[in-house]
């Protein structure tokens, strides 16, 4: 018995979303009175991996094998299942991030394990059965999944819980899964990173704007606040459709779904298709001239006012706040 978390590294660095998954795994292990073990595939330094001890991981299994430096769903599923079997883990935890969304269902099939895609809370156990909450209908409701199988797979929604770090140090052990070259089916030809900005899907703070800004030339104030806050920028589909902003920034039903700690919406009406992508945010701030804008119904804090007057003040006040803290 153990809880196994799958921890992704990218260019040798542990992904933030995976730290959350490892923390989630440790919390479950603690509740069950068993060990939290992490699996890392691909090149990384043992010193870095030992820091997973800070979120409660006892032991890290490390396949320091360059073939794993690029994600391949088939080969990864094989390796993770093997680790689950050798450690006797009845639960596998991973992030519901880009790779996790594909790896987890493959694991569910391989391990014949009930699976929760996008858990937002820790499981509640009742004997061998676990119940786990997940958002459905674009955040308009939650479903409580009941996992009856002996083995279980949980993919944790990014930003669902904030890891508390202690000063534990994990032991790191070499692991060589029986994966053949033939199991690797994809050849990576290149990557195209949007540089200079914080990736929207991972951002904790997001400043977003819509048609209320009148034109692309007015985004300077959005960029400035975002830069000061260390936030990512996002937008409504309406402004991406007219090329005021790039499409990879558009959030909502047909765009990205994000769950930052803070989502600031400036000049966005709050159409249901937009809300679908953001209403999992912890705190929502809405700035809009129209007191009837539907977004206020989903907001925690609101300012009924003109963005062109409010934003310069917001930037000024934030700068003051930052220099004082």
């Amino acid at each position: 018995m153990a809880v196994l978390s799958f921890v992704e590294v990218s260019e040798g660095k542990i992904k933030k979303a995976s730290v959350e998954a490892a923390y989630y795994g440790s919390k479950v292990a603690e509740g069950l009175g068993t060990d939290s073990i992490a699996l890392v595939l691909g090149a990384a330094s043992a010193d870095d991996l030992a820091t997973l001890g800070q979120v409660g991981v006892k032991k890290v299994l490390h396949a320091n094998d360059a073939r794993f430096n690029n994600f391949d769903s088939k080969a990864f599923a094989k390796a993770v299942s093997e680790a689950a079997n050798t450690t006797g883990a009845n639960m596998v935890v991973l992030s519901f991030n880009q790779n996790g969304k594909l790896l987890a269902p493959r694991l569910s099939v391989r391990l014949k394990a009930a699976y929760v895609p996008g858990a937002v809370e820790l499981p509640v156990f009742n004997g061998a059965t676990a119940v786990v909450k997940k958002n459905v209908f674009s955040g308009k409701a939650a479903a409580h999944y009941q996992l009856n199988t002996e083995k279980k797979v949980i993919a944790v929604n990014p930003n669902s819980l904030s890891p508390v770090r202690g000063n534990g140090v994990a032991t790191v052990e070499a692991f060589s899964p029986a994966v053949n070259d033939a199991d690797f089916s994809s050849v990576v030809k290149g990557t195209d990173k949007i540089t200079g900005t914080i990736p929207l899907s991972e951002a904790e703070l997001v400043v977003s704007a819509g048609r209320g800004l009148k034109g692309p030339e007015n985004w300077g104030m959005i960029d400035e606040l975002a830069k000061d806050m260390g936030a990512a920028t996002a937008c409504s589909r309406a402004v991406a459709d007219v090329d005021w902003r790039p499409h990879h920034e558009h959030v909502g039903q047909t765009g990205l779904t994000i769950r930052p700690n803070l989502y600031i919406a400036v000049g966005i009406s709050g159409a249901i298709q937009h809300l679908a992508g953001v209403n999992g945010s912890k705190v929502i701030v809405v700035i809009n001239t129209d007191p009837e804008a539907p977004f206020f119904k989903a907001a925690d804090y609101g300012i009924v006012g003109d963005a062109f007057q409010v934003m310069p003040k917001f930037i000024e006040e934030y700068k003051k706040f930052k220099s004082a803290h």
Partner: protein, 246 residues
């Protein structure tokens, strides 16, 4: 090229979400159901485009009851050649994936293009499960897909960008936005759809892995706290001291 496109049926996004039977069942009363947008706009259209270029056949498969006929006919009207409906209530992703994999096993598809997720459960699972059941390669969150000489060149979303990969067919692809431009069925398509084959097959007995114990709605509507536009300092204070997010 023989391409299989699994299509799901979902409540329209603007539908009012309520539950019945002690919050254990979704209430379909007065809800309009549509083809899952990702399946319709991206997976199906890209499959049709590939067929138009290279020849072959596009088959749509749906696991669902007889009331799904309308969305299946729509897929045929958009340009699929034939359809299969597995006659069962799709309550569990593993069950659904197993039905589709069982069909695919005997049909030798070169390519299976699913959607990345359905807009009701947002679970991103059926495509990956089909791939694992068939022991096939799979790439998800696909924004671009070209096929040449039996090799797929794919652009997929990764954190903060995209990655281009090459994979040998057969494989499973999970589509997302940008893969194609949605098509609206024209009159000829709609008329033609009526005579295209739609086979209804019985479901295979397969276990279900996951059950939904019950549903819940957000506890209470959020109460928005208003701050005056002349006092933005107060907003910053609240975000720091009360919400603790900055």
């Amino acid at each position: 090229m023989k391409i299989l496109v699994p299509i799901a049926k979902v409540p329209d996004t603007t539908a009012k979400i309520t539950f019945i039977e002690n919050n254990t069942k979704f209430n379909p009363d007065g809800v309009t159901f549509i083809m899952n947008p990702t399946d319709e706009w991206y997976a199906l259209v890209r499959a049709i485009e590939l067929k138009e270029k290279q020849g072959g056949e596009v088959v749509v498969i749906h696991v669902g009851l007889a009331d799904s006929e309308q969305i299946i006919r729509k897929a045929l009207a958009i340009g699929a050649d034939k359809a299969v409906r597995v006659d069962a209530d799709p309550t569990d992703a593993y069950f659904v994936a197993a039905q589709i994999a069982n069909h695919a096993k005997t049909e030798n598809y070169d390519l299976i293009i699913a959607g990345k997720e359905t807009i009701d459960y947002n679970s991103y699972e059926v495509g990956g499960m089909i791939a694992e059941l068939l022991d096939l390669p799979c790439v998800a969150l696909v924004q671009k897909l070209d096929i040449e000489n039996g090799v797929a060149t794919i652009k997929r979303e990764i954190e903060g960008g995209t990655e281009t990969v090459e994979v040998k067919l057969p494989m499973v692809v999970c589509a997302q936005k940008e893969l194609a431009e949605a098509r609206i069925p024209n009159m000829k398509g709609i008329m033609g759809a009526r005579s295209k084959p739609l086979a209804v097959v019985a479901a295979d007995a397969t276990e279900k892995l996951t059950v939904v114990a019950n549903y819940s709605l957000p506890e209470k509507a959020k109460e928005c706290k208003y701050v005056s536009p002349d006092n933005v300092a107060e907003l910053v204070r609240l975000l720091h001291e009360e919400a603790k997010v900055i």
